[in-house]
């Protein structure tokens, strides 16, 4: 589904990703594990086209290097950045619906995806009229996941979703991910995390990155 082949990224003269190579199968639940500054977020941002890259990034065989960053979500990639990055000028539901409006999805498809988001994240339905800027950290992470689900029909990238969440909220977030996995077996989930224990029972594939290099890539049988 998503493959990196000898990908190198420099940011402000620093070699952040070094010959990163991996290949994720469709339907995999992948934990991308590494310490702060190891390159996890850069892998997520590179997939979205936000870095200057050498090497090859492919999604379902298509060379993403030839796809402009704003066209990549249209290929079925949903991305929830590390720090939520909701649009505070809009309500929660406006945030969730904006990708569908931008992508000019028809009414039926928009409703189908919105229903999916609310099924995976039932608490969002009660928050939908709230201004996005008023959400707590945990609520914001849920809303960011909901927005990513509107686009992520093939691949959903969640960057450090558990960071800063209270244990009870982290548990609810993990339950939401399990509901998503149960609902959609074909979707590929790429979740970055610095604590390997948080995802060990959920992920079937683990990639460990250290100082920009892939150290271990393991896949459950």
């Amino acid at each position: 589904m998503l493959s990196f082949n000898k990908v190198n990224v420099w940011i402000a003269g620093v070699h952040v990703l070094r010959n990163v190579t991996f290949d994720l199968r469709a339907g995999a639940t992948v934990a991308l594990i590494g310490r702060n500054g190891a390159g996890k977020t850069t892998i997520a941002r590179t997939t979205m086209g936000f870095t200057d890259t050498t090497g090859e990034v492919r999604l379902a065989g298509a060379d993403l290097g030839k796809v402009a960053p704003h066209q990549r979500p249209g290929l079925g990639i949903g991305y929830a950045p590390e720090d939520r990055r909701l649009f505070s000028a809009f309500t929660v539901e406006e945030n969730i619906l904006l990708p569908a409006r931008v992508g000019k999805l028809d009414v039926a498809e928009t409703k189908r995806r919105l229903d999916r988001a609310y099924t995976v994240l039932p608490e969002l339905a009660t928050l939908k009229a709230r201004p996005a800027g008023s959400l707590s950290g945990g609520q914001g992470k849920m809303a960011a996941l909901g927005r990513a689900l509107m686009l992520g029909t093939k691949l959903v990238i969640l960057d450090e979703p558990f960071q800063g969440l209270a244990p009870v909220l982290a548990q609810r977030y993990a339950e939401a991910l399990r509901r998503l996995r149960a609902q959609d077996a074909d979707i590929t989930l790429l979740i970055t995390e610095s604590n390997p224990k948080l995802l060990e029972t959920f992920a079937d594939t683990t990639i460990t990155i250290e100082r920009g290099e892939i150290e271990v890539a393991s896949q459950a049988a």
Binding site: M48, F87, F90
Partner: protein, 319 residues
């Protein structure tokens, strides 16, 4: 009944107000201020919109105002023999042509290459555009004053508190400014393109991650801002003789308004344009030598107390 003569405060105040309301000077200054504020608002809000979204201080904004004025005057003079009423669409056509063609070219050919680079580079580029347009203006239209007042003459004068004033200046200009204000508000808050602009303004990368083409948003925003500047110039053209340097005066004044309001603040720009327009108009009657100084004194006073401007938020970027 006639207590005012014996020092009763209420009738005294009433008589003072009566004198004030009957004062030709007061009414004239107010109407001058209103019509001027309408023009200043149109130019300033374009400047503010461009800064709010693109984070670029467009020094060439005054040149777009001047080009709008000159092209509007040229078109007006061309169509007047056919029908003087055609001068009104001519003003609009001139604004759109300058906004779309000049604005589009400036954004695509120059600004799009320096987004995210040092601010001084953006300033230098827009300053170079200002210099080029200033010289182009002299090459195309020469240095002799041009006067094309047909749109002004077509409409009758109105009498307001005994003062006769052109309805073009006290009705048409303020109505266009109010329509621009509410139109812009509606566009930004009720349309998909407006939502997209707000999203890019707040977080370009997050907006791109949901499929928004930020480059296209920048182009459209710049064209809207440029069209507003050109519209200000086009609407000003019947009220004044067009001379080289008119754009310079307007960019400095509109920057003072936009900075005083807080860059990126649309409603705040309207209120500030009215306040500065009025202050300038009254000073012209009371102490004309301070005409140029007053807007900048207000700006400096406000920025010393509130560096983010009267209506600006310290961190949040708003448009």
């Amino acid at each position: 009944m006639c207590g005012g003569r014996h020092g009763s405060p209420v009738p005294d105040l009433t008589s003072k107000l009566r004198v004030l309301m009957n004062s030709t000077l007061f009414v004239l200054a107010s109407l001058d201020g209103l019509s001027y504020a309408a023009l200043v608002f149109l130019v300033s809000v374009g400047l503010s919109l461009i800064f709010g979204v693109l984070r670029v201080v467009n020094v060439a904004h005054g040149s777009l105002y001047a080009f709008g004025a000159y092209l509007a005057a040229t078109l007006s003079l061309l169509v007047t023999p056919i029908s003087p009423w055609l001068t009104y669409p001519a003003l609009l056509v001139a604004s759109l042509v300058i906004g779309i063609v000049a604005g589009g070219l400036i954004e695509r050919l120059l600004l799009s290459r320096v987004y995210g680079r040092e601010e001084v580079l953006q300033l230098l580029i827009t300053f170079a555009v200002f210099m080029i347009m200033d010289n182009l203006q002299r090459m195309i239209w020469g240095v002799q004053p041009i006067y094309a007042a047909e749109p002004l003459k077509l409409l009758p004068n109105v009498s307001i508190f005994g003062v006769s004033y052109t309805s073009y200046q006290v009705i048409v200009l303020p109505v266009v400014a109010v329509l621009a204000l509410f139109g812009l508000r509606y566009f930004l808050r009720r349309t998909l393109m407006g939502s997209v602009i707000l999203a890019v303004t707040e977080d370009r990368e997050a907006a791109t991650a949901i499929g928004i083409n930020a480059q296209r948003v920048y182009l459209i925003t710049f064209i809207i801002g440029a069209t507003l500047a050109a519209l200000g110039g086009a609407l000003a053209s019947p009220t004044t003789s067009l001379v080289p340097g008119m754009g310079t005066e307007m960019i400095v004044l509109s920057f003072a308004v936009a900075a005083t309001a807080g860059l990126g603040q649309i409603e705040g720009t309207a209120i500030t344009a009215l306040a500065i327009g009025m202050a300038r108009a009254f000073v012209i009657y009371l102490q004309p030598e301070f005409e140029v100084l007053v807007p900048y004194l207000i700006m400096v006073a406000v920025l010393l107390v509130r560096p983010e401007g009267l209506f600006g938020a310290t961190k949040l970027r708003k448009i």
